[in-house]
């Protein structure tokens, strides 16, 4: 017991082996509890907040124009152009079911008649007007897919309808037996004074983007810029340097990218992916260019809402919507979400309320049309600070995949023109082939 200086062995054991250890443990826990940082929410930007949607069904008044409805129309594209240059804007139409490009001529203010311009173009899906020959007359550039629904055969063609000045057109097939063509635009890419072409080819499993160098005498030489399937639109504008026209393209299928082909002014292009989604089902559906923030540089308006997928009926996805890519110069772009729009297609920039700020309008091609609350025409109103509020302009007609804008009545107020593409059920009475949407009030 001599060694039992202070504590009995048992107590000591507890004291040495238990007491201080327990004390230390409690102290440790206390320290740990005291020192553990309060969890903080990470500094991550929130995902798009839900927007309040305004119903604005009386803002525009629809007027059906052109030929009457037969069956289930497949209007793949509409464009507003004063084709005969009589001061009255007209409407160009790609009717993919009847394989024709038509001209809905505004004969007198508010009166329209539809005239077929070409009746043997397999699945025309995009038409643009451009003076290809320097004649002062507007020729038509037509993208022909060959067949609308999935087909990987080389059945696409690039067609120009040459205008004799009296709206009689001569057809020039500039390229055929190529992957299905979805867009054709004209610009002088190499500075030789001749209008060249930018061509988007969706194909299906294989596709391309090419530019076609105009050699004169309706001879063109193709230069392939990209070998990917899924291009929907190619747009042309000086995106970097005001002296050179570049090409911007949206590529869908599994790629889901926006490419900028920067032109050095002599037709040498450098490809850059300026935005892309890692979601192969992102469903890109179209782009257009407009200077949304009025900084002198064209920005990219962009929709994703293509509804086709591995189901019997297409339908919306939570990521569908409308966005813009802000052009920051030097080929750099910043993505901004504008808003949710299920089945979104055909984004256009237009100052719909005449307040000096460019708004964005888009349509829905692939909404859930069994739901009467599914929207088909939406105006994203710009508050002037690039804040956008969705206004529902229409729930009906449904299945819209194309919209264009123009001052059809000369009032300075834009009207919209829409086209329906009835690709899937329900086929109900909410049908309309081509419609002009006039502003109901011009105040």
């Amino acid at each position: 017991m001599a060694s039992s200086d202070h504590f009995p062995v048992s107590v000591r054991r507890r004291a040495l082996g238990g007491g201080p250890a327990l004390f230390s443990a409690i102290l440790l826990l206390a320290i740990q509890a005291g020192c553990t940082k309060t969890p903080e929410l990470p500094a991550l930007p929130p995902i798009e907040a839900r927007q309040d949607v305004i119903e604005d069904l009386n803002r525009l008044v629809p007027q059906p124009v052109g030929a009457p409805i037969e069956g289930h129309p497949w209007i793949a594209h509409v464009n507003v152009v004063d084709l005969d240059q009589d001061g009255l804007p007209d409407i160009l139409v790609c009717d993919a079911q009847h394989n024709q490009v038509t001209w809905i001529r505004q004969v007198t203010r508010g009166h329209f008649e539809e005239i077929p311009l070409a009746t043997d173009i397999p699945a025309p899906v995009h038409v643009e007007a451009a003076d290809m020959t320097g004649s002062g007359h507007l020729d038509l550039l037509v993208a022909s897919m060959g067949e609308i629904f999935p087909n990987n055969d080389k059945i696409g063609s690039v067609i120009v309808l040459e205008n004799d000045g009296h709206q009689h057109f001569t057809k020039h097939v500039l390229a055929d037996h190529i992957a299905r063509v979805t867009d054709v635009r004209a610009a002088d890419f190499n500075g030789d004074g001749r209008m060249d072409l930018a061509v988007g080819q969706f194909g299906y499993d294989q596709g391309e983007i090419r530019w076609m160098e105009n050699l004169g005498g309706w001879k063109f030489e193709s230069h392939v810029l990209l070998s990917l399937s899924g291009t929907i639109n190619v747009c042309v504008a000086p995106m970097i340097d005001a002296r050179h026209t570049d090409i911007v393209a949206v590529v869908s299928q599994q790629w889901q990218e926006i490419h900028l082909f920067a032109n050095d002014g002599s037709g040498h292009f450098t490809d850059k992916v300026v935005w892309g989604s890692t979601n192969p089902g992102y469903a890109s559906s179209g782009i257009s260019l407009c200077d949304l923030n009025r900084d002198g540089r064209p920005d990219i308006l962009y929709t994703n809402g293509d509804g086709f997928g591995p189901t019997v009926e297409p339908g919306p996805q939570p990521w569908h919507g409308v966005q813009w890519l802000e052009n920051r110069g030097e080929g750099n772009f910043i993505f901004h979400r504008i808003g949710y729009l299920p089945g979104a297609y055909s984004p256009i920039g237009v100052d719909l309320d005449h307040d000096g700020a460019t708004d964005v309008v888009a349509v829905s091609g692939f909404n859930n049309w069994n739901d009467p609350g599914a929207v088909s025409l939406v105006w994203f109103r710009n508050d002037g600070q690039l804040g956008f509020t969705p206004h529902v302009l229409a729930y009906s007609p449904t299945h819209l995949i194309t919209v264009a804008a123009g001052d059809l009545d000369g009032s300075g107020w834009p009207a919209l023109v829409t086209g329906q593409f009835y690709a899937y059920l329900p086929f109900d009475n909410r049908m309309s082939r081509v419609a002009v949407w006039h502003p109901s009030s011009k105040r």
């Binding site: 995902i47 060959g146 499993d205 391309e208 990917l228 992916v273 189901t311 329900p426 086929f427």
Partner: protein
């Protein structure tokens, strides 16, 4: 000694009290963080009530501090799986704060950030998840893809290379590297990688790009061979991703579930496709899409009884959906009950009088019974309703050939080409017809199309060339 013991005891009690208090405070703070991460509940219009009930229960559990982060995690998953991304993202942000070592939360939030167009945010989150779960390859692949899309190709290449170090034949990493090669104009290198990617994915990954590469490198035979396999393949399937797949156990949206099922089927995962459809029918028993898709799948798997149930459900719940009737009638016919098949066909036409598919079925029946007038009328109706399809034109051509009215037959063959410009059976038949009628100019023209249409089987093409040679004594091209 007693005083020392007492002091020590007191200190222990004090320390315990402090510890409990601090832990309580910490738990309280965590509950506060979790509660602050609760989004305002959205509108659940169109969803089964069970979803809203689960959401409410989770919210209550979060507020009460019950079960740790479990309820907030469940809520995040419920929201994300049902397409409520802003709400899911808010929960996920809270979870990242509360469970900083759990890779699932940054991974989930990354996917939503990417879908909201914020690829740089997504990349940062994926990189965070990758540190926490370095062996989960889908994260690395998504990082590689994000870097590529952000035009950071060197970093993307390094990432894909790391994936290949872990899994030498990963087709997605090979595809990523091939795309970088293509962007740099390194076609032979791209070819090598794409061939490997296609070989390890049954042709689904990289096979499409490979055709363009073959064509660019002048290997037209290889390209034609691949192109000839299908009118349209669309074989690509998404990166297999068990973490993302788990989410669908929380999904109450039958449309999203059927889409996922279709994607699983594309990827060859029949079992998962079935599970997803079963869930779709659990949450929406009357779902036309889910019933129809399950019917097709069960028929493919040989469970005709189940398939029939599904198609019957389609016709009952969505009588205006013609494909339900078509498939039910087809099933009954193949099961040896032509009377019932005919009855279903008639019933379907009553509900869907303008259905091209039902009229086509009737046309086929009549043609099989050699009731030519009726068959012709039905095929013409199909053409009127669906002029974009080449098949009915061909069927009419066959009938007219049978009836000896070759002029009409040829007319319909030509018309089929307006619907599908390089329709293989029409090209081959027109070529043969021109050869047999001694029209060498016509034959030469059609043979040129035959030569270029890679979907016409080689043997058939050779037979046509042989026949041309016999008839005209020279080669067609």
């Amino acid at each position: 000694m007693k005083r020392t013991t007492l002091a020590l005891g007191g200190a222990l009690i004090a320390a315990a009290v402090v510890t409990v208090a601090l832990h309580w405070r910490r738990a309280n703070e965590r509950t506060q963080v979790a509660t602050a991460s609760l989004p305002a509940p959205p509108e659940f219009r169109g969803f089964p009530s069970e979803l809203e009930a689960r959401v409410r229960q989770c919210e209550a559990d979060v507020r009460a501090g019950r079960n740790g982060t479990g309820p907030l995690g469940e809520l995040a998953r419920l929201y994300q799986a049902n397409g409520f991304f802003p709400e899911a993202a808010k929960c996920a942000r809270g979870l990242i704060a509360l469970e900083p070592a759990n890779p699932h939360w940054p991974y989930q939030l990354a996917a939503m950030s990417a879908d909201a167009g914020r690829l740089e945010d997504a990349l940062r989150l994926w990189q965070r998840a990758a540190i926490l779960a370095p062996s989960y390859l889908p994260i690395q692949l998504r990082i590689g893809d994000a870097l590529f899309k952000l035009d950071r190709r060197d970093e993307a290449a390094a990432t894909y290379t790391r994936v290949l170090a872990a899994e030498a034949d990963n087709p997605y990493a090979l595809l990523g590297l091939a795309r970088i090669d293509l962007a740099a104009g390194r076609w032979p290198e791209a070819r090598q990688r794409l061939e490997a990617a296609a070989a390890h994915s049954g042709g689904a990954i990289g096979g499409d790009l490979l055709v363009s590469v073959y064509e660019h490198l002048g290997d037209t035979d290889q390209a034609a061979q691949l192109r000839g396999k299908a009118k349209s393949s669309g074989a690509y399937f998404e990166i297999p991703d068990p973490w993302a797949a788990e989410l669908y156990a929380y999904c109450y949206d039958d449309h999203r579930l059927t889409i996922q099922s279709g994607l699983a089927l594309q990827a060859g995962d029949t079992q998962r496709a079935l599970q997803l459809l079963e869930r779709a029918l659990l949450v929406a028993p009357d779902s036309m899409q889910a019933n129809f898709q399950l019917g097709l799948l069960e028929r493919q798997l040989g469970d005709n009884a189940r398939a029939r149930q599904c198609f019957e459900a389609c016709t009952r719940n969505a009588p205006e959906f013609s494909e339900g009737w078509v498939n039910l009638a087809e099933m009954l016919r193949t099961q040896g009950d032509p009377v019932a098949a005919e009855r279903v066909l008639g019933e379907g036409l009553l509900h869907c009088p303008e259905s091209p598919a039902l009229h086509l079925l009737r046309a086929q029946r009549l043609a099989a019974a050699q009731e030519w007038d009726g068959a012709v009328a039905e095929y013409q109706k199909v053409i009127q309703l669906r002029p974009e399809e080449a098949g009915p034109f061909l069927a009419l051509a066959k009938i007219y050939f049978t009836l000896g009215r070759t002029d009409r037959a040829v007319e319909y063959l030509r018309r089929s080409l307006a619907s599908e410009p390089e329709f293989p059976p029409a090209l081959a038949t027109l070529a043969l017809y021109s050869i047999e009628t001694g029209d060498e100019t016509g034959a030469r023209n059609w043979m040129q199309h035959v030569r270029e249409q890679v979907r016409i089987p080689r043997e058939q093409r050779q037979a046509l060339v042989g026949r041309y040679r016999e008839r005209f004594g020279r080669e067609p091209w």
